[in-house]
Symmetry: C2
Subunit: 323 residues, 2 copies
Amino acid sequence: MTRLAVVCGTTHTAGIEGISAAGASPDLMARTPAADAEILVYGRPAGSITPVSPTGCPTPAIVTRAARERLGFDPLIVDAGMAAATAAPTVSVGDRPGGDVREGAAVPNARRVFERAREFGSRLPDEELWIGETIPGGTTTAMAVLRALGEDWGVSSSLPDNPVALKRRVVREGLAASGLDGGTSDPLAAIEAVGDPVLAGVVGLVAGTVGTDARVTLAGGTQLLAAAACVRGLGIDAPLALATTSFVAHDTPAIRERARALECSLTVTDPRFSETHVAMERYLAGEAKEGVGMGGALALFAREGGEWERLHDRIEAVYDRCA
Amino acid sequence: MTRLAVVCGTTHTAGIEGISAAGASPDLMARTPAADAEILVYGRPAGSITPVSPTGCPTPAIVTRAARERLGFDPLIVDAGMAAATAAPTVSVGDRPGGDVREGAAVPNARRVFERAREFGSRLPDEELWIGETIPGGTTTAMAVLRALGEDWGVSSSLPDNPVALKRRVVREGLAASGLDGGTSDPLAAIEAVGDPVLAGVVGLVAGTVGTDARVTLAGGTQLLAAAACVRGLGIDAPLALATTSFVAHDTPAIRERARALECSLTVTDPRFSETHVAMERYLAGEAKEGVGMGGALALFAREGGEWERLHDRIEAVYDRCA
């Protein structure tokens, strides 16, 4: 059986002005993971909001849901620490949002989240497990964890103009506040200091599947690559795959070489979006790029030989339903 | 979209010797709802057990899951108060098992469970909602609630020989302990005194869908009919349907007349089980009869024009996978 797990959480890092495009306001940002989970499970939000960026880019949850409606794979919402309650059914591995990485000690319960996710992952009976994420601000915490682990490379952004200078400053402050300027070889120490609860959950899930029959694919962009770096840093050499969108691969070409270095087989899928509908047009303009397992959902759709036009039609239908 | 919600919970009433066939021991009984949820969601238990009665009848979750694998409807696990944790994703509306009804005040948090389920139900965006249950001992608590509401009629049992005398004694003790010998017209007072958390959750879910677009079908036997009686007792006159198995209708013929009296349209489905496999044979011998939404899953299968032999094959496959 094929399952797409989406690990959901919140980090106060997203509240830093200019960091994230997810949600149009701090309040919407906090509710974005909850709404994403509902869209994936129910086909529309079961609260009041559909996350839309300030410039009108709808959440990638719409794309993932559209692929799900075409393919029928099962979703699994893993709550690693959401600020707002979701009406979607969840498996909980965490109980609080992450802090602002500039203050250090951003995920004090990182080891507990990791352990709970690992235990849960070890019980999953699926043959094929795809793992995505939704956490506004997550590319910044991913960058911080990579820096802490000594990997210096760019990360993607949900904004058309990646606020790299801002992210670098935030990361630098976080590493200094955590006393990790010199780096660490312990991925969990890095997540604890400057990561986010979703990273702890994703890494735990992957660790849990070691020894099971599940083939694991990380479904997403640089946040999932950061998770892969943590997995390798833990000494886990099980096969790993990464599936992302052409939007991420275009924005962050280094992802190909980094995936290779981490022994992750990489699949990049171009969904052939057109400018005919806002739900696709903003991606062509460089927004969003990834999230909520979108890269994995697209890879599954391509693998099943789906026609892109049919996916586009369904994306429009889900968008209209969510509006 | 079509969704099957299964409201899961535990009542210490199930621990009374001879009351329930679900699970072969008190420990297994406590873990039955958790395992049922896993079988429905994952296709096999994600813990260690598959619930099997002392005489070898496997849980009806296997039948419901088999129908799901043929039809593709979405499951929704609602935790109204389970004694054991499940690895299935859940929406939680309760936080503790119900007590032994003989002691009265069996569900002190019944109104809170009802309210949470109602709030959740009001947010569900499904066009079609089927609601089933899994709670060992639930036919006894259903009988107690019906008695408290002044309805005196038989209930079904998961055992081939329904321990009616035992149930009546348990119910009588519960009503006496609660001071409800004279009955009550308040369904929530009845559930609070001698019901179980699953009844509170089911009734809340149904109440929550009033005013939404959802068509609601109660998927199960006399426990769901007891829920319908509570819904009507609350003054809710929205359309309601009940879908159950031929095994229940055969065991409790009065269900037809009672459904009519409660203005529930009744669908009875005979899955044409054969004696070729234990997963079906024990039902023909009068065991289990219903549960985990089985009657609803069968009705959906029949509505879609499914061939029974294909369902039988799938039941065997799920059974073998769970064994």
